[in-house]
Every structure is written in C-alpha cells, then in structure tokens.
Amino acid sequence: MFTLLAQAYLLVSLTKFNPKTMIPNEQTNTTWLFEITPKNKFFSLNLKEVWQYRDLLFLFVKRDIVTVYKQTVLGPLWFFIQPLFTSITFTIIFNNVAGITTGTVPPFLFNLASITVWNYFTSCLNGTSNTFANNAGIFGKVYFPRIIAPLTVVISNLAKFLIQVFIFLCFFIYYYSQNASISFNSATVFFPLIVILLGVLGLGLGMMISALVTKYRDLTYLIGFGVQLLMYISAVFFPLQLIAIKMPNYAWLVKYNPLAYCIEATRYMLLSTGEFPIWGMLYTVTITVSVFLIGLLFFNHTEKKFIDTV
C-alpha cells in the first residue's frame, strides 16, 4: 500500500518536472535547461536532479559512515554498545523492577528489538531536523538539491541500523538455541517495509522541523526533550495491549501514535509476539505519507531563502 502510494507520488512529480525542463527559447532555437525563480513549486521533489546528484548522495553517506568514529577508541563498537546497554537497563528497570511482562519472549530480546527500530527512527529525526543549521556553511557556497542532505542522514543511519540488526540476530540465535519461544513468521519478510516507513516518517518530521528551526532556534531543545518523552508512548518497552489494560484512560496517547504500531509490528515480525496491528499499520502509512508531504512543503518553502536568515 505504502509503496504503491510512493510510486504514484514519484510518477506525478516526475511528469510535473518534465515540461519545466523544456522552456522554449523564443530568441534562438535552443532550449533552456532550467530556470531560477523566486519560489519553488509547493510539492516539487525534483527527482531527476536528485538522480543527477546520486554520486554526491553516495559520497556523503560514505563520508558520514567513515568519519563518525575516526579517532575514537572503540570505533564502530559504539554501534553495538549503545543498544546493548539500553536494552539491559530497560530489562532491569522496566521488566525486573517495574514488572512489565513480555509474555513468553525473553524481556531482553523484546527490548532489543524495539530499541533497534526506535533508534533508527530517532537518529533519522535528530539528524534531519538539523539539516539547515548543520549545512549552513556548505549551503551558503554551492548549490545541489538540498534534499540530498536529509536523505544522506536517513541512508547513512541505515548502515548503523543494519549493524544493530546483526546484533539482534546474534542474540536471537542464542535465545533460539536456548529453546526460548521465539520464531520468525511469514510477516518477517515485510520487515524492510517497516524500516522504510520509519525512515520516511523520520525524514518527513525532520524536514518539517528543520524548516521551523531556521526561524525558531528554541525548537532544537524541544526536539531533544520531546523525542525522549515520545518513547514512553511509543510502546518501546511494553506490549501494545498492556497499556489498554493497565491505563485505559491514557491508552489513546499510544493509540494515536503511529510509531507504536511500527514497533508492535516489528516485534510481531521478528519475535512472533503480540498481534499484527493491521488497521494500525494502514493508519501509520497514511500519517507517514501526509507527514512526508507536509515536510516536503515546509522544506521547499525554506530551502531557497533560508541562507538570508541564518
């Protein structure tokens, strides 16, 4: 469903672009390649141009991955350490101390699965929400499609995410050999779709925020704090049904949160626990597409002139 929507959107934006490239030149017989105008079209996602700059996207991703842990002692090991320790902490605090039950699934694995996907979302959101501030220097000197910058964040975080998935798989195999009641199922093959969904949601929200941050610097603080709070209503360390049973008055907070469904679906796909929230996922896809479009709108509105205000 999501892929269909996305494809339809890409198609529309491509056909939108084509006539623009061929502005006839009345004086000579040549055609203009492109035109600079005061404002962007509302939803223009200039895919042809992004494709022309695909090498730049690739090199940016490479730069991000290669340089992050240069001159650190443990290097890429940090990719492992952070989710492991968070999962251990969660297991101790929420499962052992607070007594949240995770059914037949080992709590550690339950938390690790949630945190892996949650981390991907937050790193996309945090990374993209600072697009303009972080790239002001380079944006002020040279033109390339600005959307390359947030796309870089989403893709380079994918590399980190894959490493973390690998850790999850290691623990999965370990617990499996210990005869824990965990298994993959037929839905597991759709797991990449969840990842894409989270990436697009993070990108859309991030683009929206990045545009606002150019005007209101204060928002940066709100984001850091807000993301922390968001985790508590995203069903990261508890099953979705649990909140409805234990705190029915506040269950709506989780019910309207598209992230909660993504995380619940992840656990269903990777651990066969809980239920696959089919309606919840449809809701999430709708929200994601809308958020992405609004983000794009904000981003397009800001990208042309933000350099005058930073």
């Binding site: 030149n25 000579t28 040279v142 350099i307």
Partner: protein, 433 residues
Amino acid sequence: MKDIILKAENISKQYRLGVVGTGSLMHDLNRWWHQIRGKEDPYLKIGETNDRSTKGESDYVWALQDINFEIGRGEVIGIIGKNGAGKSTLLKILSRVTAPTTGSIKFGGRVASLLEVGTGFNGEMTGRENIYLNGAILGMTKKEITSKLDEIIEFSGCQRYIDTPVKRYSSGMYVRLAFAVAAFLEPEILIIDEVLAVGDAEFQKKAIGKMQDISKTGGRTVLFVSHNMAAVKSLCTRGILLENGKVKYEGSIDHIIERYLEDEKTTAHRILSDEIIKNHNADFIKLIEVKVINTSNAISINHGIADDINIEFTYDILKENELFTHGFNLFNIENIHILSSHDKRSLTLSEALPIGRYKKSVIIPGNLLAEGSYTCSFAIMRYNPFFVEFHEMNIVGFNIIDEFGDKTVRGNYFGHFPGIIRPELTWKIKSNE
C-alpha cells in the same frame, strides 16, 4: 542571432533589516501579542532608529534592483563594482544559493559555481577522498572525477600526501588541492568569485594560466568577479559594472574598468593626519605633506605623458643624530607594482639633519610611464642594517594623459599602444659592412 546561454530578467533582491535575526519563538509570540492588541510591532523599531530619514521603508533594503543582462555562449564576463554594489548577492543568486525576490534567470547549460574553494572538505578524509567529495559537491559525477583524477592530483602538486587526511595538510597544500578540483570542472557555465587570490605566487600563476586556458580554449561561458583588475582584464572580454545594486554600465572590459576606476579617490596633494603618523614606529621623523607638481610648478593631478613629474615630500625631523634615506613605490591602477626607488646617495645617510622642517623631492621623468592612473607610497629607511622605519601606501596619485607629437614615444601613431611602461628607447641601425 546571438546564442544566448544565460538570460537574467528583472532580478531584484530585497533584504529585510531589523526583523531578521530575532530568530526566537518568544519574539514572534510577542510580536503576535502586540498585533492582536492593535499595537505596532515592537521589533520593527530596531530598523527605524537606525535611519530616521527614510522612516517606514527603513526595514527593507534592495541589494539588487532590476538587473537585466544576457550572456552569449563562450563569453567571459567580468562583474565588477565596489564593496556593497551587489556583486556577492548577484553571484549567490546566479549560483542558486539564494533566490531572487523578483525576476527570473534562465540557463541554457550546466552551471558550476566557485564561491569558495574546498567547499565540503572533510579533515578526517584523505586527499583522494576529498577530491571525490568536493568534485561531487561541485556537480561532477564520480565517473568524470575518476577520469580526471590523475590530472587533478598532478596539478595540485600533492602527490605525496594524497592518501593522508587533509587535516594534516599545510594551508597552502589544502588550497592547492581544492583549487585543482575546481580547475577541472567542465560545466557549460562557470561562475567564479575571487578564488584566484589563493596559494603562493607560483601557484597563482599556474591558476591564472589555467583560468585563461578554460576561458580561451574551452569555449566555456565564464562569469568572473574580482577586485584584481589585471586578472579581470586578462581573462574577460566583456564586463558588467554594478553600482548600488544596479547595472551601471555594460560593455567591453577595458571600457568598464576605466569607468570603475574613474571614481577612485586619488589626490595630488595630501596633508597627513596624525592618525596615519601614529600607525608607524618611526619617532624621529614626521611626514607633513606630499605634493605632485607639474612642469609649471603647480600642484596637479593630470600630467602629459612626456612631462616630468615632481613629487615633493615635506617632513619634520624630531630627533637629532638619525641617519636615514627616502624611498617611494609606484603602483598602477591594477595595483601592479611598477617601480621602487630610494635615494642611495642621500646626504642624510652620512650626516644627520638638525631638528627642523625639510623638503625632499623626486622626479619621475617624462616618457617613462604609460598613460593611466598611478599611486605612490613613501618610505623612510635606514642602512646598516637595512630597516624600513616608515612606509605609507596611497599617499598621492596622478594621471598620465596620453598625447601625440614628436616629444612623445607614440609619435603620430594613433592605434592601441600596449605596455605597462612607455620609455623612450634608442634604436640603432648597423650596416653589414
């Protein structure tokens, strides 16, 4: 029918003063709160106090206004103007860093802009990796870069360090590598800001040579912004002169440079302020005034090309027993250092002057310099050991007006007479017997 590759129509750029930079939600909320109570915007006042004379409009400035021009394929255009004339804004718009407020620009080819060399260089990455990254930022594909990689590395002269992170580079090497990438860009339209002013003299020569290659052989369209008139003159064919955000003149580059320089402040008579004196260490001497005197003994800024020019320096000696001599430097309009001279036979080198006021003059003979505008500096230095005590640039200036006739080098030839200087030389013919 001219083959137009770039067409700018009615470009204007408005900047907002005062309001910009408030940048905080509190300010906007406060503004909104004032608005709903029907009061005036509290932050607009910031703009108004600055400039009372244009109240009401003071928070808007037009950096560019109604700029129109067309550039043909293969033209090399120099954009010149004083600081604040709108050159940088125009460059930013042309290179798509910011958008114009009104108007449009149409491009008939791929554009690459060099507002800075080394944009996006990452210190942690090696020279080779940075060539790829920087090249891609400037719009090259990976394939293009790979095909030129060896040339780029050779041009930069950094072969030995190419696999070392650039944070270990000296600043000179960094700039060389960065320029090398830019030099191998091959777009149809190239927009260049004063990036030539980088690196050491040898590399600058190489860079200008490369620029000339690009503009002359490549058939590429180049827009070039610089304060270095010699570079503009040698590279460009046509020019656009900007003043206060508007196109003042458009035409051949020589004509444009002339117009630009016309307004420069030169004076044939300078009485020195205490401020200039304070900037120097020499405590035994104080320069009072400088005059440029013509053949009829009057202060004059314009001189015939065949006439002697007398430059007279007046100074006070404040301390006894100081040995020194005088010198001066001459620069032409393109800031090329034409000559340097000092009085090696000055009496002041062997005999100290008593405290008092003195005059020293130097004569620049007629039929030495070519026509144009010149500026002088004045210096006081010591021998044994050699040390410059005082050196002040741009003290006075003068114009040399070209003339025809027997007393000039030109004689009765009417055409273009090239050359930085135009001395009278002796020509001899020898028979073969």
